[in-house]
Symmetry: C2
């Protein structure tokens, strides 16, 4: 975790159950052929103010349809989740199955079914194995120390669990935010991302909860790409149970800025973890755009560079082929004056006024050898900035994705 | 070539010099380290009505800036071209070099410099080796039978030359269209494509020439993708010298429809050749969208599917992972009703009403084993259609692009 000098501190061994009153568990139900964990529940002891962001894909999965509908109440208490099957492109049966999955989890927890959201990830277009789900959910026993176990049960092609938690002071009380997420293919979030669960014991005004989440997601999960493919299942949930006893935050609260900073830090940390664990990835790519004419331009340019197959492949070979970076900025739609653009790979300035500097290729290559590579493009037009994250494109990505469903 | 039942016929051994009065040549000047052909000239015996479409990349290469400016006169007679260096991101020196390259070619041909366009392809951000160009251009001797030689000299990572020519009758005269193009990385044309030169001996009204070219490009080169990266150098030129003696065509001419069909057929044939020779490609992917609510929707959906890294990887493994196709349509921006969408891989209908049919995975896989795979998605919403072409994503693409510049 790379958070520094922020008005909060990072918790050692943080997870989605780090905030007071959250518990979780994950089991191997048998949805995945691999025999790895694939089913779980994440819950709060009490009903929460809830917010969510979801995929903009027009083939939304059944759990997205169900959870989006339920979140109109801005209240939720738990999420039932599974890996191994996305329950997408499954028609009316898919929606019935997601609804039953929520009901089973509600029964397990002894709460109202309407307070349970659902999140699924895995293969698209295969009906849910409901016998497995029906047998599995009663065996899930949520515990306050079950966060890591739950994070393991939402992994698909992830090579490691992705968790983060922070604490900050609000009104003399310690408030915590704990979260988990999973990646790592079909990652090009639009308004949301692949599954992310964020639990806080802060008290949040419902309208503020949605605003704060949207803002954080826009600067984190919406700024990463692995392969340019926006999933049918992207879902990001924020549950706030107020159990810290801290005063409720609204948009106008003086402490809202600090809570927002902490929430964004958690989301950015998880987004970076997702990008660096992209399918087949060996390197994390961070692209910063400065000097853009507008925020939208900065975001578009940053996303174009982290999404460029050509630069991603060059990154894999530690090849400072910087023309591919300018080319990506050039097709991003951002306003550009080629004579003003400058470019750095790590600390080496490789282009100025739109053309090559005298920097040696070897010095630029040296900056690309590590497992994290930083690129900065200054457009020289304004004050807007944005940062995006991605990974290299490797033979491993191709191998992993050329025979996944069968 | 797969053209059938069209109001024109395909010429055996067609090239960019198949139309009357066109000649070309290519040589090994020494721009490429490989020692392969890398410099050439394509010319008409007489000045032509000329049209062009160019990359929308905001870092346009110097030859794009020069040629776009010169085409405002709607007249041109020749194109000087090279492979091995894109002359992009080279500032004022780049533009001066492109201008000198045109002047050298004009001197060689004994024509006015303003009638010479320039096209370059290769590495970005490296100044043109002008000593090599100055020594090379006088050695280029254009000949009516030099089409194939010229097509060889614009190749970069292309594994084969891409040429096509057709003939049709207009006003009792035989009119020919001959063309060449090159790919095959940084291919995601927007309003134009990588280098394409089309010469016809038809007589074309200047305004009609531009309209006809734009229309053909929109249905061919603008509907292919290899890697989603829009180049800095895309240029497509149409030169019409009128030497067939056929009556001049304008938008209102009865024969314009037939000329348009022939021009589109040439462009589509070359676009397919580019897609199937995409870097690392082993298969051509053709995606047809039917039943879309609008032409724009159909085009966006078709382009999204051929651009999906996940489906391209699945295609490589002949894996009928059709959820990735619907997911791509779903993030394309096209209007979709998931309950109406149907999907075919080859002749196998694999989804209906948005969900899986009973078709066996093996039958779908069998349709994916050949070197050309056809996918059709019917959106069930309207009458608009579009077709796009792409290729599979392979380990070869990654290997080829992880160490290109050095």
């Amino acid at each position: 975790m790379t958070l520094t000098s922020a008005p909060f501190h990072v918790l050692t061994d943080g997870s989605s159950t780090s905030a007071q009153g959250f518990s979780a568990a994950g089991i191997t139900a048998g949805i995945k052929a691999s025999g790895k964990p694939d089913l779980g529940i994440w819950a709060s002891d009490v009903p929460c103010v809830a917010a969510g962001t979801f995929t903009q894909n027009t083939f939304p999965a059944a759990p997205v349809v169900l959870s989006r509908d339920r979140l109109r109440s801005r209240r939720a208490q738990a999420v039932a989740f599974n890996a191994g099957n996305a329950n997408a492109c499954n028609g009316a049966q898919g929606l019935a199955d997601a609804t039953e999955m929520a009901a089973l989890a509600a029964q397990n927890l002894g709460i109202a079914p309407e307070l349970v959201l659902v999140a699924s990830t895995g293969i698209i277009g295969v009906q849910m194995p409901m016998d497995v789900i029906r047998a599995g959910i009663p065996r899930v026993h949520v515990r306050p120390d079950g966060g890591h176990e739950a994070a393991g049960a939402i992994m698909t092609t992830d090579t490691r669990a992705k968790e983060c938690a922070v604490a900050l002071q609000i009104g003399g009380r310690e408030v915590r935010i704990g979260a988990m997420t999973k990646g790592v293919g079909m990652i090009h979030p639009n308004m949301a991302t692949m599954l992310a669960f964020i639990g806080t014991d802060a008290g949040l005004d419902p309208s503020y909860a949605q605003t704060a989440l949207k803002r954080a997601v826009d600067r984190s999960f919406n700024m990463i790409t692995v392969d340019g493919d926006t999933s049918t299942n992207d879902s990001c949930f924020l549950l706030a149970n107020g159990l810290s006893g801290a005063p409720e935050l609204s948009e106008a609260s003086p402490d809202a800025t600090r809570f927002q900073a902490a929430l964004e830090a958690v989301c950015i940390d998880l987004a970076r973890k997702m990008a660096s664990d992209g399918e087949g990835a060996t390197k994390l790519l961070q692209v910063e755009i400065t000097g853009a004419a507008s925020d939208a331009d900065a975001r578009a340019a940053a996303r174009a560079v982290v999404g460029s197959s050509l630069f991603k492949a060059a990154l894999h070979g530690s090849d400072p082929n910087w023309g591919r970076i300018f080319a990506a900025v050039g097709y991003s739609g951002a306003q550009v004056d080629p004579n003003r653009a400058a470019l750095w790979i790590g600390s080496v300035q490789i282009a100025q006024h739109g053309i090559a500097t005298n920097a040696s290729k070897d010095s630029a290559r040296a900056e690309m050898l590590g497992d994290e590579v930083n690129v900065r493009v200054d457009l020289g037009l304004g004050a807007a900035t944005a940062t995006a994250w991605g990974c290299d494109l490797t033979e491993g990505y191709v191998v992993e994705n050329s025979a996944y469903s069968t």
